[in-house]
């Protein structure tokens, strides 16, 4: 209560264009204007990034001052009178725009983001610019197309540095920066490298999403018209257990682009390469028709009726004890219910998970508020997990906490990761020496809100040793809270599926070999590798050879589908409906974005007709 009264007394009041407005002390003029529905044009400003004040579009007049000031970077003062639009401001803004237009090759007809998504173009229209008073410079500038999914055309760049700030403040890698001076000023990657050579770029694509012009463009989106003309559907990413919200742009039943959903409490608009690009911009061979092995042993396209008849026949020939089902840990919760209802008809159901992940999944515990706890932490301990590889959005958040908010970072993992460079303590092998643990304790001393992110490899004896030592340290560290535990599996929906009663198995070989099988149904669903991952395991290819009927239910062709007796096509993430549960225990909805491709059917519907 006390703080609230203090806040109210501290409020400042000012007039903007004659309208009485109020705000918190320290708030910028732009923030207060926006909160009061007063429009001020901007180009380099972006909510959530540090103000830059570089583009000078947001200039305003303050009564009693001869200067104009950038409203995005100027704190409002109590009692000041602000004017956001006047002939003088209009002239200055026009001149700024004309200089921007003259400086580089802003040729709209041949811009990949033409027709309406460009901030510069929009401001040109808004200020009625039909021609400019300066000489065009036509500089020869390079285009960097070496990044896998996007390009950077310096000709379109207005040096607003939104990409630089995004890269530094949201993804936290600071790949992008600005080099050279004056007219030679330009955005650079690492130390004057190309994207393809960059060691730090994570391909998260946030720079593309936040670029106000066509300087950064997605290759798969280029020249496909304005995103504003696309239908937008919100759905959930199923590539990892973080469960980021996706905003999918669709035109003529094709995905034009995927952005993070800014209103998602999970990712707040940020995405990683998996969600933003691998979901749709990656060419994969989709299975759109059921396939059945003919007399010569070749897979041939067939009808659903024939494929299902063959599957049911094989199913009837096998005894209950000779039937098993293996599922990918990414199917929806609704599919899991169907699977559990069918479980009585077969000997065993299992989901194949990553190495050491079974223990994490089989004792499912969701880490409620994991992402908030992480953002609150002053010390982050990562054990046996590689968030920057497996869950890059979470990895980015860890990076930001360490780089921007001074959180301590301790990593205990046998594999190297790009988070290691930011770590205060980084141990690839765990030492039992006192000196080492004294160092860990010294690093954690004074930590008030620690968070422990533990992945599959924390379930190994070494991981448990680390955990025990840490618990001892935290018991001695009296001032701080108990560490927030964040269990981080690799599987997208493994925790919820295990919770529904499906056993997680990491050694598929021995599991298949428990009792001889005559009928194996593999639900690979829309796993990007088509379920071929289980082939990596020893003995599995040989064991599959011995099973007379292997039904593979998958979306993409792979080494696994090539071995199958029958292949049944399933829907992919953008055609599915249902829910998945993320690592925090949030139920997140999948919404069908596109019509189903070919004859593919939903996982649950296929399972019901196979085991009917």
């Amino acid at each position: 209560m006390r703080s609230e009264t203090m806040m109210t007394t501290k409020k400042i009041s000012l007039t903007i264009n004659g309208k009485a407005c109020s705000g918190e002390p320290g708030q910028t003029i732009l923030k207060i204007a926006r909160a009061n529905d007063i429009y001020i044009p901007t180009l380099c400003y972006l909510e959530g990034l540090t103000a830059w004040g570089g583009c000078r579009m947001c200039i305003v007049e303050i009564e009693g001052s001869a200067k104009v000031v950038p409203s995005c970077a100027t704190p409002a003062m109590d009692g000041s009178k602000i004017i956001t639009n006047s002939p003088r401001l209009q002239d200055l803004r026009k001149a700024t725009l004309e200089l921007l237009f003259s400086e580089r090759n802003h040729i709209c007809p041949m811009c990949p983001y033409n027709k309406g998504d460009c901030g510069l173009q929009h401001q040109g229209y808004a200020h009625g610019i039909t021609n400019i008073r300066y000489q065009y410079l036509y500089p020869a500038l390079p285009v960097d197309l070496t990044a896998k999914y996007f390009g950077l055309d310096h000709s379109r760049c207005i040096l607003c540095t939104r990409c630089v700030r995004t890269c530094d403040e949201i993804e936290g890698v600071h790949t992008l920066d600005v080099a050279n001076r004056g007219i030679k000023n330009q955005i650079i990657v690492d130390m004057l490298k190309k994207f393809g050579e960059s060691e730090t770029c994570t391909l998260c694509g946030a720079c593309v999403a936040n670029c106000p012009t066509g300087a950064f463009f997605d290759k798969a989106t280029a020249f496909r018209g304005p995103l504003a003309s696309c239908r937008q559907v919100l759905t959930t990413c199923t590539e990892c257990p973080v469960g980021c919200g996706l905003k999918v742009f669709i035109k003529e039943d094709r995905i034009v682009n995927v952005w993070g959903d800014p209103d998602s409490p999970v990712n707040r608009g940020h995405l990683c390469v998996k969600g933003r690009y691998e979901t749709w911009a990656e060419p994969r061979e989709r299975i759109t028709q059921p396939m059945l092995r003919d007399k010569d042993g070749k897979l041939q396209p067939t009808t659903w009726d024939k494929a299902l008849a063959a599957v049911r026949k094989a199913g009837k020939e096998a005894k209950k004890t000779e039937k098993a089902m293996l599922i990918a840990p990414r199917v929806t919760n609704e599919t899991a219910q169907v699977i559990m209802a069918l479980a009585g008809k077969i000997d065993r159901v299992g989901m194949y998970v990553a190495a050491n992940e079974a223990a994490l999944c089989n004792e499912p515990s969701f880490s409620a508020d994991a992402l908030r706890n992480l953002e609150d932490a002053d010390a982050i301990i990562v054990i046996g997990a590689q968030p920057s590889r497996d869950n890059p959005v979470l990895g980015a958040r860890i990076r930001i906490m360490v780089r921007k908010h001074g959180a301590k970072l301790l990593i205990f993992n046998s594999r190297k990761s790009d988070l290691d460079q930011y770590a205060d303590v980084c141990a690839y092998a765990v030492s039992l020496e006192h000196q080492f643990w004294d160092r860990v304790a010294a690093t954690l001393e004074g930590a008030k809100r620690p968070a422990i992110v533990y992945g599959p490899n924390a379930m190994t004896p070494i991981g448990v040793t680390v955990m025990e030592h840490l618990i001892q340290i935290f018991e001695r560290n009296a001032g701080g809270q108990k560490p927030a535990l964040i269990g981080l599996p690799v599987s997208s929906n493994g925790l919820a599926l295990a919770g529904a009663g499906i056993e997680a198995i990491e050694d598929v070989g021995p599991w298949l070999d428990t009792r001889p099988l005559k009928f194996l149904h593999i639900v690979a669903s829309d796993t990007p590798d088509g379920g071929a991952g289980i082939f990596d395991e020893k003995y599995v290819p040989a064991l599959l050879e011995e099973i007379p009927c292997v039904v593979v239910q998958a979306s993409y062709r792979s080494a696994l589908t090539e071995k199958a007796t029958v292949v049944l096509p399933t829907t992919i993430w953008c055609e599915k409906s249902g829910t998945i549960t993320n690592l925090e225990g949030r139920q997140l909805s999948l919404r069908p974005v596109l019509p189903v491709s070919g004859e593919a059917r939903e996982d649950a519907a296929i399972l019901e007709s196979v085991f009917a």
């Binding site: 040729i107 610019i129 021609n131 065009y136």
Partner: protein, 207 residues
Amino acid sequence: MNKMTRNKTTKKSTRPPVAKAAAKAGAPAKVRVATMWLSGCSGCHMSFLDLDERLVDLFKLIDVLFSPIVDTKVKDMPQVDVGIVEGCVNNTDQEHELKMMRDRCKILIAIGDCAINGNIPALRNQFPLKDCLARAYEQAESNRISCIPNDPVVPGLCPKARPLQEVVKVDFSIPGCPPDADMIWYALTELLAGRTPQWNEKNLRYD
């Protein structure tokens, strides 16, 4: 609308639709217009033809005396009120023509992005002239004989492709690639009515 009143006056006049005759009869003189096509794709002229039936209304107010899209019998460009130019200045001949146009018209309108900022023809400005010529005449895959034209009759390529305003004074600009017929209609009718076109988000397009 002002346009309507003007239409009425021309409708009332039974004189032949020649500006001079009309002027003699006391009816308002038609605005004399010439158009020119420099380094461009003719898209802006096509867009002008896209005015469709509005052309009939427009021709009640203007006479197009000289243009690549009218069957002119005059060899030399006459004095006009308004000159409309598409395309940028790429060679010495175009520079000469544009300067002639500027001399013989009262108001010069640059139409289309090429005339305004160089657009596609100006892409070559990023490379030295020598390289451009070599790429087109010596290295082009379709060329059987590699030879840069050097006949004095052929106009020389300027070192840079230039928008009109870098060569002459331009009075109005109608951007767009091409500007759509509505933009051209709006700009011309406003100018004919004696007003300056007011451009904003709703009626302006660069692409």
